[in-house]
Each structure stands twice: as structure tokens, then as C-alpha cells.
């Protein structure tokens, strides 16, 4: 089912489009580095960017989870760079983009999901529900 984002105001749209642009920018930078690891990272960022705007009911319903997953993914990418990454201008630029991305996702999280604590609770409940279903319980 296709739905429109009726609840977004102008600021909401600007925020969302900037998030998508930043995700695509860091994806592009990762594609220029070469190698499977960086390409997989780029593909993941493109997938997240698409999931942030795809007008499907299931994506819209789980946007809170996509947002949280994208924050976690960007944090993981920054962590990997801190451990193994090259310190040069493009690395710093890319980390700047990812930090801005996390900040804007955090603002969205506050606007639409009530902040990180409610998101953590929802994630916990979703994990429990998934585990129960996998183990055959109700």
C-alpha cells in the first residue's frame, strides 16, 4: 500500500531530504575507495536512504526502526574508521557528513519517535516479540 507523508511540514521535508542527501553523499565517497567492504557500506547507505523516503506503508510504519538502524550503522562506520581508517581530508569530510547525518536523524527521532528512550523500549519489545515468534510461542 502506498501512502503519502501527510504529517510532514516544510521543516520535516527539509530534514528528510537533507538526511537522504547526506546518506547518498557518504555512500558516494565510500564507492570511490575501492574494495568489497567499502562497496557494501555504500550499498547499505543507499538502501537506508531509499527506506527513509520510500512511500510504502510498511516502511512508513517502521520508519522509527529504520532511523535507529541508520544511526547505529553510521556510528558503527565512524567506530570502524576510528579503529582502522586513514586520517586524510576525505576521511575527515566523510566523518563530518556522518556526524551531521546522525545529528539530523536524532532531531527526527525527537520529532517523530519521542526520543531515544521510547525507541529503545520499542526496539526491546520488537526483539522480544521476534524471539517469541521464532521460538514458537505467542
Amino acid at each position: 500500500m502506498v501512502i503519502l507523508h501527510r504529517h510532514h511540514d516544510a521543516l520535516g521535508w527539509a530534514l528528510r531530504l537533507t538526511i537522504v542527501a547526506l546518506a547518498l553523499a557518504t555512500a558516494y565517497i565510500h564507492t570511490t575507495l575501492g574494495g568489497l567492504m567499502f562497496m557494501a557500506n555504500a550499498v547499505a547507505y543507499v538502501a537506508f536512504a531509499a527506506l527513509m523516503v520510500v512511500p510504502l506503508e510498511i516502511a512508513s510504519r517502521h520508519r522509527w526502526l529504520i532511523r535507529a538502524a541508520l544511526i547505529a550503522f553510521a556510528l558503527g562506520t565512524i567506530g570502524a574508521w576510528l579503529m582502522f581508517g586513514a586520517r586524510y581530508w576525505m576521511g575527515y569530510l566523510d566523518k563530518g557528513i556522518e556526524i551531521a547525518l546522525i545529528a539530523l536523524l536524532g532531531i527526527e527521532m525527537l520529532r517523530y519517535d519521542g526520543g531515544p528512550i521510547p525507541v529503545a523500549r520499542r526496539t526491546w519489545h520488537l526483539a522480544l516479540l521476534t524471539l517469541r515468534r521464532m521460538s514458537g510461542g505467542r
Binding site: 570511490t32 575507495l33 575501492g34 574494495g35 568489497l36 582502522f84 586524510y88 581530508w89 576525505m90 575527515y92
Partner: protein, 114 residues
């Protein structure tokens, strides 16, 4: 803003390497593509300075970093291919040294000084 500019300048100044189209006579040639060196070892002269012609044959980004144990001996800047840089390596005692790429941690080869 000033901090970012300082970081960029620091990164740009901390590595060496001159752009080049063809290898100078007698240069050790090292080639990189995607996320690997095309050879697991190269040989250079011991006890005298020499040059490495480091070429990237695709559009990926790399640098060439020469190590003696954990000590950096010489490094090119990080650059994108297809392109090449010439790296002047100081005199090395005979032995085996590591060459790596700072972007791709899995890239490692041996530089044997004989």
C-alpha cells in the same frame, strides 16, 4: 572551521610522493587495484636510497606506506587512480619491510631490501 582546515593541511603535508606518468629508470614498481597489491613482495636495494613507482590501475584510492616494524619509513599521499606517484625511500638495511595501504587494512605486501 579553522580546526578542519588545519586537519586537512596536516593530512596533506604528512605524506610525500610526486605525481608521475612513467616509472623512472631503476624504480621499484608497486601496483594496486581495488583493494590489493598485485604482488605479495617486491625487491629493492639495501643500504642506498631508491625510488618506488606506485601506480593505481583502477579508480580506487590508495597510498603506499613503508614500515620498519611499527615505525613509518616513507609514505605517499592518498590518491585516486588511475594515477601514479614516485616515493623516495631512504637507505634501508637489508631485511624485510612491510608495505601497506592506510585506507585498506587488508592490503599488505613485503619489501625486501637486498
Amino acid at each position: 572551521m579553522r580546526l578542519a582546515l588545519a586537519l586537512v593541511l596536516l593530512a596533506a603535508c604528512s605524506a610525500t610522493g610526486t605525481a608521475a606518468a612513467t616509472p623512472p629508470t631503476g624504480a621499484v614498481i608497486v601496483t594496486a587495484a581495488v583493494d590489493s597489491f598485485t604482488t605479495s613482495s617486491v625487491v629493492g636495494p639495501a643500504d642506498t636510497g631508491f625510488t618506488i613507482f606506485f601506480q593505481i590501475i583502477d579508480s580506487s584510492q590508495h597510498d603506499l606506506h613503508v614500515w620498519q616494524g611499527e615505525t613509518s619509513v616513507a609514505a605517499t599521499e592518498i590518491f585516486g587512480g588511475p594515477s601514479a606517484r614516485i616515493l623516495d625511500v631512504p637507505a634501508l638495511a637489508s631485511g624485510v619491510y612491510r608495505i601497506t595501504c592506510d585506507i585498506h587494512p587488508s592490503m599488505e605486501a613485503a619489501l625486501e631490501a637486498v
